[in-house]
Symmetry: C2
Subunit: 492 residues, 2 copies
């Protein structure tokens, strides 16, 4: 990957000055059009070898462009708030909103490369991480982002020369640390690992641009051009959705058998049994959350279900057994303006529970493949790719130690009708029933298909769906508590 970046590329001073002038106009123009449109973010990763001049290049870009619309993220050691959440959380929170540019020094590549260099990460884990990164970047591009990845390269000799030159100059000598020399000794290993990382993550939608950094003029001009061309290309495309091929939507099975139909909604629990069991389960959950071992895990509980399936009531049975200091209920409604300026999953990443905490989601990221699919709020390519993105999201939670519990509360059409009528009669419940509920009800078969697809495509070993027969509220609430307790127990 680095062959073309060891050819002693260089640019004459006069050419440089002439070209920079043109480049600056282009950059400013492209940036201001992107800002005005506010339809996509620009993500620039500045990576490469020590001494390659990552900092210098970024400083220059900020001089050439309008710094008011650029956010620079120097990703140093993780803060304790970041350490309490999955590794990608810090990058999600730093993503630029539509219209803005985010420059990352030290990105999602840093940790896997460094860990692999020092052999603290195995070969297959590295492969997994790189695949995960590719999918993450693919998601960014699918969401409309411009992703530009620049790798500043120096040959081993050139790196040595660079360090020596800096050391010779009193003004820059402090920049070369013993650490740099130590890493220089590992140059070959570093080269080998990063070569692999770049190769495996150089995709059509987000390719790596390896830039020889020996001659600063060549380097600066090349990086600037790479960036401006990517923005210009994206501007040309305008609002048009990226070309994602979606396979033809599946039909329901010929015999109409499906996981929802197979549920025995007749299951019930008597009042005395319920009281006894519920009391025991609440005590048990309380003890689990207070367990010392819970300090290192956390829990994300997703409540989905038909309208009027009893999500609210089930949530309250859970929270009742928890200490207010340790949980949070997130009620998922329409996204806010700031959320709309970000990739779809951003608003859920915001609420990922930190260690020792539980977050209960009243509806969730599954809205994409349920209501947004059925009502046509999301295009088919968008909801089709969501299945995979959601699985990635949940797996990165689980790998960090988040217990992910996903509950589908199922009721029959008849039971729903009964509850709708009941709600209309009860004054303090009347606000719970809207025209929309009636409208959704008419689309029952479409919703049922979406639910079955969702279960098939997102129920994984690490984060399985749990189906709850909810025609009988008592049965459902007990099953909800049981499922949560046993999931946490397994994780402790």
């Amino acid at each position: 990957m680095f062959e073309s970046a060891e050819l002693h590329h260089s640019v004459a001073k006069s050419t440089y000055e002439r070209e920079v002038k043109k480049l600056r106009t282009r950059l400013l123009d492209a940036q201001s059009r992107a800002v005005e449109l506010a339809q996509f973010p620009i993500v620039l990763l500045s990576g490469g070898v020590d001494g390659g001049g990552k900092g210098e290049v970024v400083n220059l870009l900020l001089e050439w462009m309008d710094p008011r619309f650029i956010q620079v993220h120097a990703m140093g050691p993780e803060t304790d708030e970041e350490l309490a959440r999955p590794a990608m959380w810090r990058f999600w929170r730093a993503l630029p909103p539509k219209g803005k540019t985010g420059i990352f020094f030290g990105s999602w590549y840093t940790e896997p490369i460094v860990e692999r260099v020092y052999r603290r990460m195995g070969n297959s884990e590295m492969a997994r991480r790189l695949a995960e990164i590719s999918r993450f970047e693919r998601m960014l591009v699918d969401e409309g982002a411009v992703v530009v990845k620049v790798w500043l390269h120096l040959s081993k000799k050139a790196q040595k020369r660079r360090f020596e030159k800096q050391e010779a100059n009193p003004a820059t000598a402090w920049r070369v640390t013993p650490q740099d020399w130590k890493r220089h000794k590992r140059y070959d290993r570093f080269r080998q690992v990063s070569e692999r990382a770049l190769r495996e993550t150089s995709t059509a939608e987000a390719p790596w641009n390896v830039v020889e950094a020996t001659d600063p003029r060549y380097r600066n001009l090349t990086v600037g051009r790479t960036l401006v061309e990517a923005i210009e290309k994206r501007l040309e495309r305008g609002k048009k959705v990226p070309l994602v091929l979606a396979a033809p939507a599946e039909r329901p099975p010929i015999d109409k058998k499906n996981v929802i139909e197979e549920l025995d909604l007749g299951l019930t629990l008597s009042e005395p049994k319920y009281d006894k069991r519920m009391g025991a389960l609440q005590g048990h959950l309380n003890a689990l959350a207070a367990d010392k071992r819970f300090k290192d895990v956390s829990c994300a509980i997703v409540f989905e279900g038909n309208d009027a399936a009893g999500k609210g009531g089930a949530i309250r049975r859970v929270t009742r057994s928890l200490d207010a200091r340790h949980y949070n209920v997130v009620s998922v409604a329409a996204p806010t303006e700031e959320e709309r300026a970000q990739p779809y999953l951003w608003r859920f990443w915001r609420h990922v529970p930190k260690k020792a905490h539980l977050t209960l989601f009243d509806r969730s990221w599954y809205g994409r493949v349920l209501v947004e699919r059925v009502e046509g709020f999301a295009s088919e390519p968008d909801w089709m790719r969501a299945y995979r993105e959601i699985v990635d999201f949940e797996h990165s939670l689980v790998r960090f130690g988040v217990v992910v519990v996903k509950l589908w509360l199922a009721i029959s059409q008849e039971e729903q009708l009964r509850r709708f009528h009941l709600r209309e009669k009860t004054s303090f419940k009347r606000f719970k029933i809207t025209k929309e509920d009636w409208r959704n009800r008419k689309k029952w078969p479409a919703y049922e298909r979406a639910v079955c697809d969702m279960i098939d495509r997102t129920s994984t070993e690490l984060a399985p769906w749990q189906l709850v027969e909810a025609n009988d509220k008592k049965w459902a609430r007990v099953k909800v508590l049981e499922t949560i307790c046993s999931s946490i127990e397994k994780a402790l």
Copy 2:
């Protein structure tokens, strides 16, 4: 303050059950109306003595109300992200948006009370802090919030009995820590200090409610009622602005003399002098920001000025001398939806620089007393109170070690006209000139008055305004750099 809370208040079980039933309906009803309106947040502070049952009460409220619209904040030790910013930052970031309820365990009172109990804080500093808190709460109420402050009180004897009782029961024995007994010994000191804190911060708009906590039934019912009454009262008031008396707006001085008129806009700098001086200043600023002592400070730089005064150009001269990793430019535009759901200053608190960082504000919180005042976007009581709120805000930054630099770039009406015309002629600058600019220009006298008032009311010793004669861009840019350098120097 605690006399009425040592009368052995109690409630019979039968009364309790009957009353709780009524209370729950009222609470749910009031909460759902507040959620639907989404016009004001509800802030509940749960304070009091150890053993008073702060946690139990909050858990109960979450059971009685709809937990989906409540955020609970257990303010433990500060995280490192919080430690890098002024003390109030953690509370600002946790404020509930309009429509939601935020419950704080451990609030802005905890630190001053604890520090004063252990005599690490002097008497006068305590007085200052309490006054600051009162103004902060006043601001919340002025912004529409319901602020409910509940203090759970136990007499010394009652506290002792509570601890002994808990220790006797194996299920609750773990709750009583040696720390609790240690603090029990300081009961009198704690009572004395908190009595003062409560007294000095019990205001008409946010009074303390001291509740005897000996009998849990009495305690629960009283807290619940206090909360529901406060919400109901606020709902009655509806959209009406809180009654703030604004003194009649001032007239300009009879002789028309003002700080802006007094500026010598004829000041200029020759090209060679500019080049030399600018080079030196940029190097100096770079060195200051890289200075080891800068690790403990940070810097907030406010750029305000007439339209076309050259803020953008000045900002770029500053950023050019800084490392991209250490600064951030915040361009202040219309607030986002999430920002509009919060008190006015919230969106600036978001961007408070952390230690060792600089934030440059291209326009700022002063919009409230400039454009919002002149254009009537803010009511007179709202912009009148903003002066004081802004001073408080800046002082809390300065006290934490943030260097606050406020620059007003002043140009003459003639110079502005010249620049407007120039912009219209230059194609790549055309987007910089809008109809609004021309409209604002017609209101020059109103803006000038607003500027003079702003300077008079918000130029303080800790955060003074710096007026920059900006008819000559070179002069202005050098003065901007000089001011920033000398302000940082003083702080190191």
